[in-house]
Symmetry: D2
Subunit: 396 residues, 4 copies
């Protein structure tokens, strides 16, 4: 009779890696609860359940987190215009705390002292998973096999995993693995590693699963209108975005642990939402509030990327951003075509846009003479600086 | 015999407005020097010279500023990834200090105490012109007719200008004016006012002069490679960008004077340069330097937009950004197609990208166990926070 | 019979300047309502009322704003640790919106279309007054005599005011004016202009009215304890601060309009509150929240200084800062002595300080080995940078 | 015959801890080079040399780093106005990279692959030491005994160290240890741990070694003048500062690893330099440059505190701050008395202070009417906001 070392809730994907981890954890003496989150990825969830059960999972939880993923994670990111390093829309990063929150919930409910995941030891996801776990379940113990020498020395490559699988009755994939890894959810798919590690090599055309190649996308644009309210009002119909090839990027980014890595992302709906939200926000938000909020949004993006969704500072920043959105309401008209999103117009009852005030044809409540004083006072400092510098010539 | 009130250097465009201003300034008793800057706009410069002379300009200066515009103004903006309010690439804003610098140079050389321009009293350009003038020529006196009641009350609309023109022998345009105003240079064209003042109304398809309608642009992408060095190495061949319809945006923005205004911009080459520079920069620049530099770039953009190119703080920020670019060198491969720019790959001898370090297949000089400590230490604070909060549930 | 031009609410101080303005405004054809705010300055308010009435004020409002000044203006500034340019505690700046808010309230109630004040044309106070007025009463018309040529050309110095006063039966001060100007309220007194304009000249020892010269202050410290809650809990007993000579500074600062000016301030109680609040805040607030809040506090300080108390961005920042203060509660023990404040200790039920965790004697819930990983991961980037730089020597 | 594991350069203090570490490292099979930096602490360096030799150090390096500590580390911090979390002047933090730089230099010269130190596993100093080592000597291996279970489990308290010392012929201190730990250099002394770990308990009066108790300090102030140039011009005579009890603080701060800790610091000369530098900087630096530089200074302080002196971002920030100091030159007159520093006046040939411009008595090159326009344009946005809000009352 072997004493169990305890129960571990494993973030299970149904794939080769986490299947091997499931069995390996059992080998190590743990009771394993498999947890698979449905966040919109393309997956046969029932097959995954059966697979986990057949591998000896004590329990299997498959939870549909799609609506909370959209409402609690994607929507705040849209409100923040969250973009990491000017380009990445954080599709994987926002999914991690959503999954880990549920994983911790299960661990607490099931009295499990351990959680485990299949994230690698060089990436961001391990951090995002674990910081969420520690934040929400501080006493939890984390088993990260890809950071445990016994594990990673045993499984040095896919071949080792395949062998182990065959030996332990783990079904092995029949189709060959793509020469890169990917992560998918309803918001985006990311591709990295393998042949993509060479930052110069062009991504193969058949890599993309979520968006059409713009060259093959429809030859006529589709127009749509997105309405924003300051609370989430349902996922707008964004099926057009993938069809039109919107949201592909190929970037090198800085991981939290200080490495540069190359990632290819497709975020069709998120890209449209970002562009539309940016537009309605500038239309309705005061200029100086916008400036401060822009800084907070950048901070928020870094926090999400680095795994600090559940942190005092992220909670704080989210609260502030939330406040900024009070009047961000209205409709944006846009057109999608061949990978691009074009804003066509916008309207809002909360807008600070004042057509009469800005008009070149009517004066409105504005005295142009005021501008002279405004400019001259702004120049006081510049003229003083010049006086001190004593420029002899205007060209430097 | 009438005494001259002095000499004024007028930023002359050759159009109806500044032609009327030229004559009006003479009427007011000034000697007028007409100055027309060639910054790449589509203009018959010789015709403009003759027109100015015929209207009584004491002298006419037509100066080719194209190369200094690119080197001294566009290039630093590219290095800064300068974008105002997340979208506007500042094509008009960077041109103003370039023109005004030359205008001041002429004023000094010609002993003129006055400068004048045709910018309106509600816009940003008046500020950009005048702050540059005050910064570089603090004693200068500025005549801004559109802020002088005698002028703007006399010329309440285009009809008044046309009448005045006919009365004073100013050639009037034969083609009807477009129902919006525009500003063009080699980097971009902006469109605003008139029918565009309604933020909801869609811009007419025939408005764009610099870029093809993506629907009519080539059906096959063009690939190109852009090489960056940390000094300007010549304007890359960007003729492809307009052909492929790159760089159109329709935005509402916040003017310095606190109004929201709607602008439509096309910045074909600048858009490609921005995307390529962003890519090579992230590839070669340290993560934390990038973060600080990103903040400085946003500041720089606001300064440019608001007209503070020649200011102590802009000089300071430019110096800092310049320092950050020391290793930003390399080549970016990209593809342009139907209004969109796709980064395909990049390479650099200065890159901080370490393919072995980041590889999922080899371990490199990296111990995955270190990540456990890294995560646990980052969690110290989060666990403390949780302890204080005493969350009863993980779901808020 | 003369038609009144309308009613003006004048911010009246009881002094020579605003008395002359009162009479001058009547001369110009206005009905004048005198408004004098009691914000804790040393003033004979009843004498001021009689004076204003005798000068022909249609009505006189003397309003005790002390408690709203403390609660609505000083307290939020303490929470923000508001300090302008690292030194100035904003004692005058926070009083202006408090006064102007009431002035506007009276103007609205009395149906007055005009407000007026005696602030100079070079200072910050004109801006603080007027931005508040425009923000809260956008249609108001402002009469700023010191910016009206007829006024300032007539009153070129104190002698002109004295003459005018004698001619119009305005009581003239019997004691000679101090060779500087001052502004006082319950929080502070500022001194500037006159002989203080020379930034090198030492302020006279008899200038200070609110604090004892530390050389003459008690030779033994007084200890006190300040308790903070996240709502305002009454003005703590700070009478000790002036007695001990706390809060004197002599600085050069940058005015909003771009000039440098020299000011001498004494802020006895505010200085103690700032130091105590800083201490309890760091004791109870998460490190990263603190960092973000620090930036917002600096922004808040600039907004207050520049007169933007009533602005969308200040409202926004105040909301954010407010959120950050939720757990900022506890007691700070301190000692005041000879101009200095010494923090002695602090305690709080909301503190994130964990004596066991930080102890060098016990290990607590902390594994020192984690720090190795933390450091090594933080070094990944530094080592990469070094690799690229290829330093041959460690000394630069 | 035992093979050496290699050579380790130990940062040796001469005290009990690092003496035990020296012997323990030898026990573990290393050759030990003892390195003791003279950064101005009160130490019998020759006695320490003999002690290290007697304990079996292969070599002993005692290096006088005082002038490079002042020039390369303290001076840039003064220029940055470096203060961590609004209060701590970073006296220990700036010393660590100075010491570690030399340690690495010796390790390289002596062909040592290892460095070691006696810093604890919960503090900041381990990080500051090691990040410097990794940055400047990426291949180095670090031995941090207080993070090695064999070491810290063996030496659980001072008694264990004393026993080990007696057993191994390590001279034990004859005077009892103060119930706190301290770190001293020419700039400051820090005190923490032991009885100070209770954040409420008042620090004993006899703790301070560098400054007089203000109650016992001279009863008359001393005046002094400090001259700044934009290069370091020698350590000003600051002996007065300790005598007058300047620079004592008692704070709780946030360590990099996420704990709050209580520290007591005395930084007499540094406090005066900070105050004087702040004054001359605001006097000579443009307002907007100052604002940007203030942000960079805060960043710089965090970097120093966290141990990133030798990092790409710190190098970058230092370069920027350096640029900002170009005109920061002049003399500051001040007075020190009973723990407090009073600025009395300042002068500079590079000042942007314009006495005529700011004067209330003369108009200078300034038209007060300009301020009306300035204010009204600044109000455009505020009035628009009000229009949207439709406040019914001015009091919220």
């Amino acid at each position: 009779l072997i004493m169990s070392k305890g129960t571990v809730v494993l973030a299970y994907s149904g794939g080769l890696d986490t299947s091997c981890i499931l069995v390996w954890l059992k080998e190590q003496g743990y009771d394993v609860i498999a947890f698979l989150a449905n966040i919109g990825q393309d997956e046969d969830f029932e097959a995954a359940r059966k697979k986990a059960e057949s591998l000896g999972a004590k329990k299997v939880f498959i939870e549909d987190l799609r609506s909370e993923f959209v409402e609690d994670f994607i929507w705040p990111s849209v409100q923040a215009n969250a973009v990491y390093e000017d380009r990445y829309l954080l599709g994987t990063a926002v999914a991690r705390p959503c999954i880990a929150r549920q994983q911790v919930e299960i661990a607490r409910k099931e009295g499990a002292n351990f959680v485990s995941h299949g994230a690698t030891g060089k990436g961001n996801d391990q951090i995002r998973f674990e910081l969420t776990c520690y934040a929400l379940y501080p006493e939890v113990k984390i088993i990260a096999p890809w950071r445990i020498p016994e594990f990673y020395n045993r499984f040095r490559g896919r071949t080792d995993l395949m062998e182990y699988a065959q030996k332990h009755g783990i079904p092995v994939p029949v189709t060959p693995k793509a020469p890169w890894s990917m992560d998918a959810n309803l918001m985006h798919i990311s591709y990295e590693s393998g042949i993509l590690e060479n930052p110069k090599s062009r991504a193969p055309a058949d890599l993309y699963l979520m968006t059409k190649n713009p060259e093959d996308s429809p030859n006529t644009p589709d127009d749509l209108e997105i309405e924003f309210k300051n609370v989430f009002v349902g996922s707008p119909c964004l099926s057009l975005s993938g069809k039109h090839g919107v949201g592909r990027i190929d970037i090198v980014e800085n991981r939290f642990i200080g490495m540069k890595s190359r990632g290819i992302y497709e975020t069709p709906g998120g890209t449209i939402l970002l562009k539309a939200h940016l537009d309605i926000e500038t239309f309705t938000m005061d200029k100086e509030v916008r400036r401060i909020k822009q800084g907070l949004g950048i901070k928020f993006s870094e926090l999400i990327y680095n795994g600090f969704w559940y942190s005092p500072e992220c909670e704080f920043v989210q609260h502030c951003i939330n406040k900024s959105q009070e009047n961000v309401e209205g409709k944006v008209q846009l057109s999608v075509f061949k990978g691009q999103v074009y804003i066509l117009g916008r309207e809002s009852s909360k807008s600070l846009y004042n057509e009469e005030l800005v008009s070149m044809d009517v004066q409105g409540d504005y005295d142009p003479c005021d501008a002279s004083g405004f400019i001259r006072i702004n120049a006081v400092r510049l003229r003083e600086h010049h006086r001190l510098q004593g420029f002899s010539s205007t060209k430097q």
